[in-house]
Symmetry: C2
Subunit: 341 residues, 2 copies
Amino acid sequence: MAERKATSFDIAAKAGVSQSTVSRALRDSPLVNPETRARVQAIARELNYQVDRTASSLRTGHTRTLALLLFEDAPEDASPINPFFLSMLGSITKACSAHDYDLLVSFQHPEEDWYARYEEAHRADGLILLGYGDYVSAHPTLQRLADSGAHWVIWGPRLSFEHGICVGSDNALGGYQATRHLLQKGRRNIAFLGCNSEQAPEFADRFSGYQKALKEARLSANDNLQVYAESFEASGASAVASLLDAGLEFDALVCASDLIAIGAMRFLQDQGIAVPDDVAIIGFDDIQAAAYCSPALTTVRQDVKRAGETMVDLLLELIENGDETSRLLEPQLIVRESCGS
Amino acid sequence: MAERKATSFDIAAKAGVSQSTVSRALRDSPLVNPETRARVQAIARELNYQVDRTASSLRTGHTRTLALLLFEDAPEDASPINPFFLSMLGSITKACSAHDYDLLVSFQHPEEDWYARYEEAHRADGLILLGYGDYVSAHPTLQRLADSGAHWVIWGPRLSFEHGICVGSDNALGGYQATRHLLQKGRRNIAFLGCNSEQAPEFADRFSGYQKALKEARLSANDNLQVYAESFEASGASAVASLLDAGLEFDALVCASDLIAIGAMRFLQDQGIAVPDDVAIIGFDDIQAAAYCSPALTTVRQDVKRAGETMVDLLLELIENGDETSRLLEPQLIVRESCGS
DNA sequence: CAATGGCTTGCATACGTATTCACGTACCGG
DNA sequence: CCGGTACGTGAATACGTATGCAAGCCATTG
């Protein structure tokens, strides 16, 4: 039976004290007599009383809640959330829980003027922005947000705003690690799949790492081996197909994402080309499928768990202490079978 | 510069009307003069005004927010969220967005008295409970919740409460579909991996579907081919190992989850047993990895997208119209390579 | 004995919005 | 010219909590 929910006044009446005292007792204020406090708390338990967080937030101005804005390029309902963001969502949720914060999740279409969501209209103490590169970071709305005095973190490359924090992977380092590993394995004709991506600006950094490794090895990079791809399987397949069609020689692929790598791997296998014997492959991200495909995919892991924790930690620091700086996370090469070990 | 946020009074002053009129105008009330409304809305835009949802919720008693309580058996921080729940989280998020609701996510340890979260202390209009079978559904707290008049949906088998809704897969049907498919392919010695699970009570229903299919085919089930397993790879591997050790003959496996199936498949392959030629395998869930392992895993898909949508739709119906009934979702057999097609 | 100070408590108010009630104006028909 | 009605608007209040301020009480001290 849905009786009216108990309020602090109900407790006050039952305990024979004022509502102020109840509020103080429940918040463990040192101002109340220990006996009174115990009595009030006992009655609160008995009545299944819960502080109304809405009212509490209105009064204090704090919510103990962070809001996650998820920017998806594909608004159509059919597609599931990008798996990388999805696992990020999971780790952020966990990180919030660990700090006894709640998380408010909502989608946002990049084209809209999401400034309207500004700190979720007072329902959150801070914002976490998650979306593909430029979609968000280059958006003029972000500047307004930065100027507004809101507390926010964004996943992506370092940006220059006076307020707000960026957390991202060191993509150049990741591309470098992958390429150097292949060089150490004796591969010499290493292609890169994922140049000039429109959707994922981070690919450009990965590419620069690849270039740096080649340069260090005094290998002249063959421009023809550096091809365009976006982050889905079909694109990886057609990228590698174009290399084959052009009759180019290559013994290894550095791919800007795991999905590209898997698509390319499948295509090569279908053509009767052996992975890793004929062509070694390294991906980027370490999505779940990377460990399950065959041969298991060597990849550059973005530590999602640590990323989520870092974003939450820094944001809370920013909220509570007012000052924090952006951070770049070190990726880790996960060696499996596809690189020929 | 963090100026004080604009309130409806600020707009009122600037528009030369009262706060009441501002409130009405912003909510498109027919009570206000169209011209006044337009003027007020223009000023609101100009001031970047956003309705304070906290205050609004306090006044109206509604939040346009649903809360998702995630019950994880493993509280240790290290492990990521179960992938099935994680994708469910994704689909629920999307479904909420489609209805213009927000989602509040929080973890809950099953042992605790989470009744305290009762409608998230007024921060949500309804609750979605997600956790492994009995952990939640058999919890005494659920009865209290049901009695309290809260609005909630739980993922799992149908339960008998006067209030609240259950949404789940028809697990018996799924087990039946998988087994019958193998029978049609001519397999006769079909084992079941995942009996007597403590963590996942839904496995029992899947097992009963398996039994039903065998019975229909007039095959006497060999009890020795029905073995215990929990939902992780190592458990699947050791389950199939026990069958081999016992020297039992089998030409197919019905597995209570994909993780069990993948673990079993890997183990068989390591032993030089061919999948699907020697042993056909069917899993359950259709997690992402199922499509990527080799051979690709035939499995019974739980349509996560539809599940999330259904839970949200029913919950909103319940909140708005007060009455709704539980629902059982039909699973779908996804035929890939591991069953020998 | 009066004054001081510490310890508890209550009163009153503010947070920002949505809504009920009452009021004023203009317009209509009789 | 008057009663009635329809329409817009404003004043006032409630939602439930947290907290500044003041006041009461008791014990201690000069």
